[in-house]
């Protein structure tokens, strides 16, 4: 903000202190608003991926850094294992481990879990600071403070950074903003020092998140646009070259990244711009020494040759395979239908779906309409750094539209632009200087002083004229400078800001603060009841199964089983091996006789399924079942067919009309095994799908679900998690189905001999009541 000249020097001196205090308050608010889940539930790691990160962090804390990088994890992807140290971004874990060891050196007893839980909120405080710095470079201090406040509570960012959301994004957004700030700083000053700092933070970002590619492309794009616009300068050359050279070398130190920066297509842009800058720099150098006529010839000739050479080189290297071709995930960024057709496993993840329009509003509220205004404002001035904001804004908007999760990268720039726009409005409307007379002249003076002000003033003027309707006319006190206009505009924005805070708090509290490991429900008296089935079952696995037991489940639960149950899994959320996942899908979607050999081959001891039918928990395996089928069908089109799981009318049903393939699939059987018994003589209703499950007690023709090759080992309190134990091979070499039939036949005949005809299940019931 341009300081009002009337401010006494003492007050002006106090401003930095006030700013610092404001920033601390903003950081405090950012942290506090992320603590809903801790207050409401407990200090717990959320969702799925964070459980892996947490487990890896514990490994890093228990071992040293190099053994962490060399970590081969034989407890996942059984029997393949995973070269974990070489296939993860270690930034997050290293950050937590450093904090842990730092606190330990200070002899402060803090549990590593609490560090992991609180990491995201604390870094969001830093993000607010980084955004402040970044926006300050764009406009001024007050815009910076506004941006910091916005990013602190914007739901789009909170969604990935609540306490317990221990994921790469938690620190990546902070690093993203710091890197961008440093880049702008380096570009402004043309300083190799700041360029090196940019490289340092870029390195940290590479170590922390796969989304670093965003930086790898946006900075070159910025540089390219500057060159094309004829804004090449030695400052650009110094900043870019120092960032690119150091940053690329540094990023190659991360095992997972390795030689990608010089081999993959995603990184070619940065390399190309680097080369271009050298050429431009050279050309500028030569032009200063060569007469202009020869120079023209030289430029035309060399540019032509270079373009031909460069294109040929890249095409040649791509064809020969030195440069990796574009990956599927990349294609799905341009064609939203691509994944659905070619890679079902990417499409099956909800956060990879295209964004629905309301979620833009949901995640950024009023900022989404301040965003274009902010872009417009920076367009008016269009300094070098403003171009960056525009490019970032355009790219991020596109990506956020393609994938829900990329809403995250859009949020910072929306906050920055929103803050610039709002701060601009506030600047104008809080300026107390009142040109009572000579209105026109003064305005003209202002216009000359700043083109930015000019634009907005006229903009505001229009707005004000609409507000004050026809009564504006010629009276000097009605119009932009009237206290009424000021009051109305400021009042409106105060109201908007208030609503913004309300909205952010509401969204955070209601949408983004559920750990999803623990579910909450309301009791009849309004008190909160915790549904803790996941941990119940995982803890049972942890305590009561063999240390080396192998647990098969759909990949969603792999990380949680590894983290909470500490057992070996077949597939997990890393999803690097589609075939292995398809194998699990096939085992789940096939008949028992087909599945059993698969289970045996993979040494599976337990199978874990999630079943929400009793409680109405919709994220269960039956609802995910079609993805299992689709992924399995991708590998074995002859054996698993999606069509077989739909009724003749094309419905997905689990009741009496379900197709035989459905009813005989292992997943169906394991989900509904003995489910109907809970209801006794009442109809057995699946509360998720609202369908009636065939119940033998109601309907004599419905045969009870029988499992022959697996047996129920544990079912959680609300039946959400069901664990089955895979039977050993039959000692007499029989098929399991035959053995089960033989056993039950014997039992039945025995029972018939003693008592009146009683079915197997009724017998069990009688036994219960006897004790």
């Amino acid at each position: 903000m341009q300081l009002p000249t009337s401010l006494p020097p003492a007050a002006a001196n106090a401003l930095p202190l006030l700013r610092t205090l404001t920033l601390f308050t903003i950081a405090g608010a950012a942290i506090a608003s992320r603590l809903f889940s801790v207050v409401r539930f407990e200090s717990i790691i959320h969702e799925f991926d964070p459980w892996f990160n947490f487990r890896a962090t514990k490994y890093l804390v228990a071992n040293d850094f190099y053994s962490f990088l060399d970590w081969f994890d034989d407890r996942t992807w059984y029997p393949l294992g995973r070269v974990t140290g070489g296939t993860l971004y270690p930034g997050l874990m290293v950050t937590s481990a450093l904090i842990f060891h730092g606190l330990k050196a200070l002899t402060l007893p803090v549990d590593i879990r609490n560090i992991c839980v609180m990491l995201a909120p604390v870094f969001s405080g830093l993000t607010a600071y980084a955004t402040y710095l970044f926006t300050r470079e764009m406009k001024d201090h007050s815009a910076g403070l506004l941006a910091a406040a916005f990013i602190g509570i914007a739901p789009g960012y909170i969604s990935r950074s609540v306490a317990g959301s221990y994921d790469n994004e938690a620190i990546a957004i902070t690093l993203l903003m710091f890197t961008f700030y440093l880049w702008i700083k380096a570009l402004k000053l043309g300083s190799a020092f700041w360029g090196a700092l940019t490289a340092l933070f870029y390195f940290y970002m590479v170590a922390a998140w796969g989304g670093y590619v965003f930086i790898t492309n946006i900075i070159p794009l910025h540089a390219l646009v500057l060159v094309i616009m004829g804004r090449y300068s030695s400052r650009l050359y110094v900043a870019y070259s120092s960032w690119y050279a150091l940053g690329t070398l540094a990023s190659m130190q991360i095992p997972f990244v390795g030689f990608l920066p010089i081999r993959s297509s995603e990184h070619m842009g940065a390399l190309g711009v680097f080369g271009l800058l050298q050429l431009v720099g050279f050309a500028v150098y030569v032009r200063a020494r060569v007469p202009s006529k020869q120079f023209k010839v030289l430029v035309v000739g060399s540019v032509g040759a270079l373009v031909v050479l460069g294109v040929a080189g890249i095409v040649g290297l791509t064809v020969s395979g030195v440069i990796a071709p574009w990956t599927g995930r990349f294609y799905s960024l341009w064609d939203t239908g691509y994944a659905k057709i070619h890679i079902p496993i990417i499409a099956s993840v909800s956060e990879h779906q295209p964004t629905a329009w309301p979620s833009f509003f949901f995640d950024t509220f009023m900022l989404i309409w301040l965003f274009p205004a902010g872009v417009y404002v920076v367009f008016q001035e269009l300094r070098d750094e403003h171009l960056f904001v525009i490019i970032y804004g355009i790219l991020a908007s596109y990506f956020a539209g393609v994938m829900v999760r990329l809403m995250l990268t859009l949020t910072p720039i929306v906050c920055v632009c929103g803050a610039v726009a709002l701060s601009n409005i506030l600047d104008i409307y809080t300026n107390l200087e009142k040109p009572v007379e000579e209105e026109e002249e003064k305005k003209e003076e202002k216009e000359e002083a700043s083109p930015l002000k000019k634009a907005t003033t006229s903009l505001i003027e229009d707005e004000a004229s609409i507000l004050s309707l026809g009564s504006m006319s010629k009276k000097p006190l009605i119009g932009v400078y009237s206290n009424w206009a000021r009051g109305i505009v400021l009042g409106m924005f105060t109201l908007y800001l208030y609503m913004f805070v309300q909205h952010c708090t509401w969204v955070t509290s209601n949408a983004y603060s559920s750990p999803s490991v623990v579910l909450a429900s309301q009791m009849a008296d309004g008190s909160q009841h915790i549904i803790d089935d996941f941990r119940e079952a995982y803890y049972w696995l942890r305590k009561n199964t063999a240390e080396d037991a192998k647990v098969m489940s759909w990949w969603d639960y792999g990380y949680q089983i590894g983290g909470m149950a500490d057992r070996t899994t077949l597939v997990d959320n890393n999803t690097w091996n589609n075939t292995h996942i398809a194998t699990v899908g096939k085992a789940m979607s096939s008949r028992e006789e087909v599945s059993y050999p698969i289970l045996r081959k993979h040494d599976v001891d337990y199978i874990l399924v999630i079943f929400g039918g009793l409680l109405g928990y919709s994220g269960d395996d039956i609802n995910k079942f079609l993805w299992m089928v689709r992924i399995a069908e991708g590998i074995w089109p002859e054996e698993v067919k999606e069509r077989d799981f739909f009724t003749a009318r094309g419905e997905y049903r689990v009741d009496a009309e379900a197709t035989p393939t459905m009813k005989n699939s292992l997943m169906y059987k394991m989900s509904y095994y003995r489910f109907a018994d809970v209801f006794g003589r009442q109809p057995a209703i699946d509360r998720v799908r609202n369908q009636r499950i065939p119940s033998p007690m109601q309907d004599a023709s419905a045969a009870p679900i029988e499992l022959s090759s697996v047996e129920e080992a544990f079912t959680s309190e609300n039946w959400i998690v069901r664990i089955y134990k895979v039977k050993e091979l039959d000692p007499f070499g029989r098929e399991h189905a035959a053995a089960t039939a033989f056993e039950s036949g014997k039992k039945k005949s025995g029972a018939r001999g003693r008592t009146a005809p009683v079915g197997g299940h009724a017998k069990g019931r009688a036994r219960v009541l006897r004790v």
Binding site: L189, D532, V678, L769
Partner: protein
């Protein structure tokens, strides 16, 4: 405190060889023995009148204990409690010293020499009380049961007490929980069954060293909880006026295992019908009054299924494990709470004018009807405290001391760790006394250290902030 191994072996040898018990020395006039099978372990208590029948005053007598209580497990013997007491006429008791001989006789027993405080005159008699507790001695019969079946335990013991002296009259009572035993050793109309009590005897004029084994099988629909390890930590904070306690349990249901797998639907039915079950559904922990901030967690976070009843006289924490613990299943959890320190700490000024603090805490608290294989109790004293003495009413402990640095400590805080094996819930009564002083010079170390560190940082920042590291002249934009 104890003799060296060689000395004690020699002494034991001398004791057995030189003064082997002579059956004519004493006679047991009236022996009443009660075997309590209502808990997860066997509590065997006897009370008898010992009369000196020799020709000279005796200063010691002998008892015997089954050698299988020792060599069952290398690390933890089964014998959890062995107390011999002298009962005076006014019903007050004094504990007696005893020594268990290493030799095992042909009946598989080891002799115990008990020293009397005052020699027993010829012809006079004394009332002696003997209490033993044996863990892991009850075995489920059958070893595996179905989920809905009742659990049966088997106790193997003797009809009369194994004594090196003649017993004039003995009666043995076997008490079981809520149901009469369903199978037991029987001889005509011996024993007498009254409710849940079996009374064997009375037997008259039993020979010395008589050995008559009996078996009792009884229904026990209560979980047999074995705590394989308990770690208990008490933090004393003078500045906060707080005594924080945290207990970490690793436990197991040592009862009959499940024959088939666990069936949730059957469990729901039995819960609905409020059936008694050998699976641990929930447990009540009685805490001392004035308890605050009780928490119940396990390795993966808070266990929401707990209920704290803040009764001012006897607060109860009702804990429910994440899942019912059936026979053979394991569980581990952490239970913690806070107390005002004032309730457990007394201070007094000694002759030199220095304040001496006495901390009195229970050695163990927590669960009822359990036994512990291994117990570790740590007391973390305030920083720079100097320990004067550590005493426990439960004497069979080993003590370790170490130094812990925590919360920006400068000189560290002393940790006293007491390790014990084979404890039973009854030993909750045991108390631990730690006497210490807080020398005033140690109290300033921490603030000084923190202040110095902060000043150093500030100065470093001031100095570094004035160093110009730019190359060439700094241009202002």
């Amino acid at each position: 405190m104890r003799f060296s191994i060689v000395a004690s072996a020699l002494l034991a040898y001398a004791a057995t060889v030189l003064s082997a018990p002579s059956p004519s020395d004493f006679k047991v006039v009236n022996m009443l023995r009660t075997v309590d099978l209502m808990k997860a372990y066997v509590r065997d208590s006897s009370s008898f009148i010992l009369e000196n029948t020799s020709s000279e005053p005796k200063s010691s007598f002998y008892l015997a204990v089954n050698s299988s209580y020792f060599d069952d497990d290398e690390t933890t013997p089964k014998l959890a409690m062995y107390e011999v007491k002298l009962k005076a006429d006014d019903a007050s008791t004094t504990p007696l010293e005893f020594e268990i001989a290493p030799e095992v006789n042909e009946d598989g027993m080891r002799l115990v020499e008990v020293a009397l405080k005052t020699p027993l005159e010829v012809g006079s008699s004394q009332t002696i009380q003997l209490v033993t507790a044996v863990v892991r001695e009850l075995s489920p019969i059958p070893k595996k049961i179905k989920q809905s079946e009742p659990q049966n335990l088997m106790w193997e013991g003797t009809k009369v007490s194994y004594m090196p002296y003649p017993i004039v009259k003995q009666r043995t009572k076997v008490k079981t929980a809520d149901r009469p035993p369903n199978a037991y050793s029987k001889h005509i109309d011996d024993p007498l069954v009254e409710g849940t009590t079996l009374t064997y005897g009375p037997y008259n004029d039993v020979e010395p060293y008589a050995y008559d084994p009996i078996l009792v099988k009884y229904e026990y629909n209560i979980p047999v909880i074995e705590v394989s390890k308990l770690e208990r930590e008490l933090w004393v904070s003078h500045t906060g006026g707080n005594l924080a306690t945290e207990e970490r349990y690793w436990l197991k249901n040592a009862g009959a295992e499940l024959k088939d797998n666990f069936s949730r639907i059957r469990w729901q039915a039995s819960t609905m019908a409020r059936e008694r079950t050998p699976a641990l559904r929930s447990a009540s922990v009685h805490l001392r009054p004035g308890v605050r901030d009780v928490y119940f967690t396990d390795e993966i976070g808070n266990v929401s299924t707990s209920n704290f009843r803040d009764d001012p006289r006897s607060p109860i924490m009702e804990i429910r494990p994440r899942y019912p613990i059936f026979g053979g299943w394991n569980y581990s959890f952490t239970l913690g709470w806070n107390h005002d320190l004032g309730r457990s700490l007394r201070s007094l000024v000694d002759s030199e004018g220095e304040t001496v603090y006495v901390l009195r805490v229970p050695l163990i608290e927590g669960l009822m009807n359990v036994y512990y294989n291994e117990v570790e109790v740590s007391v973390v004293l305030p920083e720079a405290a100097e320990i004067l003495s550590v005493e426990s009413t439960y004497t069979d402990v080993t003590e370790e001391r170490s130094l812990l640095f925590s919360h920006l400590d400068a000189v560290g805080r002393t940790v006293v760790k007491l390790k014990a094996k084979n404890m039973i819930d009854e030993q909750k009564r045991s108390e631990l006394y730690v006497t210490y002083t807080l020398p005033s010079n140690g109290q300033y170390a921490k603030p000084m250290l923190v202040a110095t560190a902060l000043i150093t940082v500030f100065f470093a920042v001031i100095v570094l902030g004035r160093i110009d590291i730019s190359i060439g002249k700094t241009k202002t934009a």
